[in-house]
Symmetry: C2
Subunit: 287 residues, 2 copies
């Protein structure tokens, strides 16, 4: 058994699914859960995601040998600050935050010496749904988990966090936090912003009701991710500001040039962009 008493802070899709998966794997004793609202705590209890609900963060982390923080990026720093005085010297802590440089910064600012017990991580998994109801035990199977180790992270904490993710079927790799944030901006954060913007633009048209009825694959795929949690994605945009702005600048320049080519009827330019993209997708981005 990896943890005798695991504390899960944030019992939604990410936190809840980890708990269910570790329980199913027989790798956890008791799971203590914390959520901001009493309603969410009760929901997590009712669904069997957690065994005990804690009313405060201090109570939640007391006597825990493992802590998983799965809250929106905007709440990460205050959670670290609140738990810091109450955690043991031997606890193993990790998180599921989608942007790693601010988590690393907050960990150094808030955890003091106990930063050695913290292993920043990011499971690349999720659906457009959120909340305890959306959690399921197989979420992490065959999914990547990226750990962005601190220079001060204790080896035994890394071993334990790796073992935890592998126990639920994930594949663990390590990456520098800045590189992580750039890669995730490209693969996930920017696509979500593009989808939110598309649906928002279309929703302002009178005939938008007709839209999905006549939508083939293209719009359906885009609109699905626009159903994701708005608070989570607001926080990700703010937290990954620099990587997002750099990419958005490039993206907007590309779109401006394509628009100009459509306006002027520059068929050669359009064909060259589409061919380059198709070639990249079919060769370099093949799954």
């Amino acid at each position: 058994m990896i943890f005798e008493r695991l504390c899960i802070i944030g019992v939604g899709l990410i936190g809840g699914s980890l708990s269910l998966a570790l329980k199913q794997a027989g790798q956890v004793g008791e799971v203590v859960g914390y959520a901001r609202t009493a309603e969410t705590r009760q929901q997590a209890l009712d669904l069997g995601i957690i065994d005990v609900a804690a009313d405060t963060l201090a109570e939640a982390v007391r006597d825990a040998d493992g802590i998983f923080i799965a809250v929106p990026m905007g709440a990460m720093e205050s959670v670290l600050a609140d738990i810091a005085p109450h955690i043991s010297d031997k606890v193993v802590m990790t998180d599921g935050g989608s942007v790693k440089t601010p988590v690393v910064k907050a960990a150094y600012a808030e955890l003091g010496d106990k930063v050695q017990r913290f292993v920043p991580g990011h499971p690349i998994a999720g659906t457009e749904k959120s909340g305890p109801n959306s959690a399921f035990a197989t979420l992490y199977q065959q999914h990547q988990v990226i750990l962005t180790l601190l220079t001060d992270t204790a080896d035994d904490a890394v071993v334990t966090v790796r073992a935890m993710w592998e126990a639920v079927g994930a594949v663990v790799t390590e990456m520098d936090p800045t590189q992580h944030d750039a890669v995730l901006a490209a693969t996930s954060h920017l696509p979500h912003v593009l989808a939110f913007n598309l649906v928002d633009v279309l929703a302002q048209h009178d005939d938008c009701q007709k839209v999905l009825r006549y939508a083939a694959g293209g719009f359906r795929d885009f609109s699905r991710i626009a159903s994701s949690d708005p608070v989570m994605w607001r926080d990700i945009c703010i937290s990954n500001r620099d990587a997002m702005l750099a990419l958005l600048t490039e993206y907007r320049a590309g779109l401006e040039t394509i628009s100009a080519a459509i306006a002027s009827g520059d068929e050669d330019y359009l064909l060259s962009v589409f061919e380059r993209a198709k070639a990249a997708r079919d060769t370099r981005f093949t799954e």
Copy 2:
């Protein structure tokens, strides 16, 4: 049987799938196929998509009681011009072009009196693949087909084209060509341009190899449609110029405002856009 001798011009995913579906439904006698290259014609013969290959358009349409034109938008007008002198007064013609206003315009310009025999149509179906190899008999099942009737279209031609699409499992509706083009720009054409641009931007980064490995749903869905046929999408952008430019202007303005909000840390604005988009997706765009 709906057609004794059906001529399919362009035997790729769209044309080939219609032939296979009508054959499976027992609604067609002989299928004559035309493609620009001898290689594609032979492929279509080998796959059983067509029974006879024609070397010229004149030969292809001779004695046909049905004609389906499934070529890229850029080839539509010249195909109509080439077949016009060779088609019978009783033929029923339709097409699969993704943009309808230019097809309607070309039909009036090229077909003379025989424009009465033409029923412009658009099956909202497809995959990111193209060519005879990608054709399959069930492509149109449960899919929408939009007909954009001309004021001069003969009633019996409409009845036959409706029957043809219903025989392969599609649901037929009618729409004004301009409205069709606006709705399709929103649901399909713009999303494809956004996806091509995303993959093209990312392909210019050194670390793009890492991208798909760490991609969750967001990028995977986007990148799939960037694998679509570049010639087809170049032609669609050019053909649907006005609707595309109008939408691109709105889309780029939205993205500019989101970028500014990320830069200035305007959390309220980001949340309002994402909430509005999620609400629209979850209520008005629900499948």
